[in-house]
C-alpha cells in the first residue's frame, strides 16, 4: 500500500468540499434570522417555527409520504417479480421486450416519462391526482428495484433453491422459505431506493399530478423558482438531517453485523481446533 500522497489528499479534500459545502451552507443559513438569506444576521430558529405553521407544506409532505410508501411497496413487489423472471425465468415469448422495458426507464429522461404517462392518463380519462402519481412512480421505480434485486439474484447460489426443491418444497415454497429470506437485504434496499426516488421526484409528479394533490417537491419547486427562501432552507435542513441520520445508522448497523459475522467465524475456527 502506498502512502497517501499530497495530490490524493488535496483532490479528496477539494472534491468532498465541492460535494458538501453547498449543503453545509444551506444548513447554516437555515438558522439565519434575516429574511435576506445571503446576509448573516444572527442565529435563529424562527424559520423552522414558520415552516411548522405552514399547512400547505405539511399537507404536501403528507401527500408525498403517502405516495412514496404506496408506490415503493408496489414497486418492490413488481420489481422483485421482474428480477426473478429476468434471472430465473428462462425463455418465454417477448423476453427481450420485457428486459428492454425494465432497463429503458433507467435512462429515459424524466420529461419524456412524465409526458407519456400524462398523455396515457388523459387518453383513458383517468382523473389526475394521488393515484396517477402512484402509478407513475411505481412504474419507474420498479425498474430500479428490479436492477438492485436481480444483481443480488445473479450471485445467489442456485443450488440453495434446488436443495429446497430436493427436500420437498414446491417452487413457490422454495422462493418463500429460502430465496426471499436470503435476498431480503437487496429487496429492502430496493424499497428504500424506490422510496427516495418517489420522495425526490419533481418532473414526473408535475406531469401526473392534479390540482388536489401537490407533492413536496412540487411545492418546493414553486417556492424556489422565485429565488432563495429561508423556509425552504429550513425544510431542506430537516430533509438532509433525516437522510444523513438514516444513512449513517444503516452503515453502522451493517458494520456491526460484519463485525459480528467475523467474530462468529473466529469462534467457529476455535471450535474446530
Amino acid at each position: 500500500m502506498r502512502r497517501a500522497s499530497w495530490f490524493n489528499i488535496t483532490s479528496l479534500t477539494l472534491g468532498f468540499a465541492f460535494l458538501y459545502l453547498p449543503m453545509v451552507l444551506l444548513v447554516i443559513y437555515s438558522f439565519n434570522s434575516s429574511k435576506l438569506v445571503t446576509v448573516w444576521a444572527g442565529f435563529s430558529t424562527k424559520w423552522y417555527g414558520e415552516l411548522l405553521q405552514n399547512d400547505a407544506f405539511l399537507n404536501a409532505a403528507l401527500v408525498t409520504l403517502k405516495v412514496a410508501v404506496v408506490s415503493s411497496t408496489l414497486a418492490t413487489v413488481l420489481g422483485t417479480m421482474a428480477a426473478y423472471i429476468l434471472v430465473r425465468g428462462g425463455r418465454f415469448a417477448g423476453r427481450t421486450l420485457f428486459s428492454g422495458m425494465i432497463y429503458a426507464p433507467l435512462v429515459m429522461p424524466e420529461v419524456i416519462t412524465g409526458l407519456s404517462l400524462l398523455l396515457l392518463f388523459i387518453g383513458i380519462g383517468l382523473d389526475r391526482g394521488t393515484l396517477t402519481i402512484v402509478l407513475a412512480h411505481t412504474t419507474f421505480s420498479m425498474c430500479y428495484v428490479s436492477v438492485v434485486v436481480s444483481s443480488r439474484l445473479v450471485t445467489f447460489d442456485r443450488s440453495l433453491e434446488e436443495a429446497a426443491l430436493d427436500l420437498g418444497c414446491s417452487p413457490f415454497d422454495a422462493f418463500r422459505l429460502v430465496t426471499l429470506p436470503i435476498i431480503a437485504p437487496a429487496v429492502i434496499s430496493g424499497w428504500l431506493l424506490a422510496f427516495t426516488l418517489s420522495l425526490d421526484d419533481l418532473v414526473i409528479a408535475s406531469f401526473t399530478t392534479g390540482p388536489s394533490s401537490t407533492t413536496l417537491p412540487i411545492k418546493i419547486w414553486s417556492a424556489v423558482r422565485l429565488g432563495v427562501s429561508p423556509e425552504i432552507n429550513a425544510l431542506s435542513t430537516i430533509m438532509i438531517g433525516i437522510v444523513t441520520f438514516g444513512v449513517i445508522a444503516a452503515s453502522l448497523i451493517s458494520k456491526r453485523k460484519a463485525v459480528k459475522a467475523q467474530r462468529d467465524v473466529r469462534a467457529a475456527e476455535r471450535a474446530v481446533t
Binding site: 443450488s159 434446488e162 436443495a163 429446497a164 427436500l167 420437498g168 418444497c169 462468529d264 467457529a268 474446530v272
Partner: protein, 375 residues
Amino acid sequence: MSQPVFAPWDDPNEKPLIRFDDVTKRFGDFVAIDNLSLSIYESEFFALLGPSGCGKTTMMRMLAGFENPSAGKIELAGKNIAGVPPNKRAVNMMFQSYALFPHLSIWENIAFGLKRGDMTKADIAVRVEEMLKLTRLTKFAKRKPHQISGGQRQRVALARALAKAPKLLLLDEPLGALDKKLRQDTQFELMDIQESTGTTFVIVTHDQEEAMTVASRVAVMDEGQIIQVATPDRIYEAPNSVYVADFIGDVNIISGTVKAAGDEMYHLDWVANEAPLLAASDRTFSESQPAHLAIRPEKIAISVDKPTEMKNAVQGTVLDIAYLGNLSTYHVQLGGGQVIKAQTANTRRLSRRTITWEDSVWISWSATAGVLLER
C-alpha cells in the same frame, strides 16, 4: 466364517433400483449424455467417475429431477420418473456446495425436508436428533452454517439429505471442498453411514482415489458415455481400455502388434530391435492386430543385473527418480526412447539403495503383470 459377497449386479434375478434405458440428454447442440444404459442396485455405493464435462453431473441431476432426459427413460424402482418434479421424488441430494440455508440453524436445516411432509412436530424433533447423533453434530444444533467448520458443514448436508430416509441419496463431489486429510477420514465415515442406513448412494466425483475407496462399483465416464462399469479392483487390475487404465492410477502403455504364443498367450512386437513381450490375455486377438499393453509401475521390477526368471526384461538407463517416502518411482529410458515407470517400495533405508541417476538397469515383469488392450 465367510460373509456373503455383496454383488447384486451378478445376480440375474435381482431387480435394479435405478435403470437408465438408452438415455440421451442434449443441451442445444451439445450432447451431454449419449444413448446411455446403466443399472444401479439397492444398497449399492455407486460412483460415477470422470473428468469435468463428461456428463456425470448431468446424470445425477436427471436422477434428482432437475433435468429431464431428451430421449430414453429413467426408472426408479421400476417406475419411469420422467416429469416427476424434484420435490415429489424419493431421492435426495447432497450438493457440491452443500447448499446449506444460511439463514437457518443446523437444526432447522436438517428439519427443513421433514417439515415438508406430514410428520408431527414431535416426530420431526426425534428424527433430527437421530440425524444429529449419526453425524456427531448434536453440539452444533443451534449454530448457523457459517459458524461451523467445512467438515461439519459437509456432515450437516449429509444429515439433511438423509433425514427424509430417501430410497436413493445422490452426492455431488461431496468431499471436494475438504482438505486431503479430512477427506480421507470422511470417506470412511461416509461408508459407515451408508452401510448402517442401507441407503443406495450414488456419488459423483472426479477423484479416482475417492471413487476407488468408497464405491462398491465404479462407472468410468467420458464424453457422455460409460466406458467401463466394474468393482474398483476390476477397474484397476482389468481396465477395458487405455482410457480407463490411464484415468485410474499410474500406468505404462506399450503399443505394438500381437501374434499368438500359445493358450491365452500373446507376443507383442513393439520396437524393431527388442525381443517381443509376452503377455497373458483372456481376450482373443487376431494375428498382427494392433494392441496396447498396460502395466502398472508397481508391477515392474527394477534391478542392476539381468533377472533370469522373469518372462519380460528390457534394459535402459535411469532418467529420473521420484522419491515419495514410502515408494520410489524410477523413470527408465529404453533403447527406443520410450520411458517406463517402475515403482519399488522403500523397505530399506535410502542410503542402502544401489540404483541412481544414469545407471544402466533392467526392468522386468511377468506375463500376467499387464493387460493387453484393443483400444
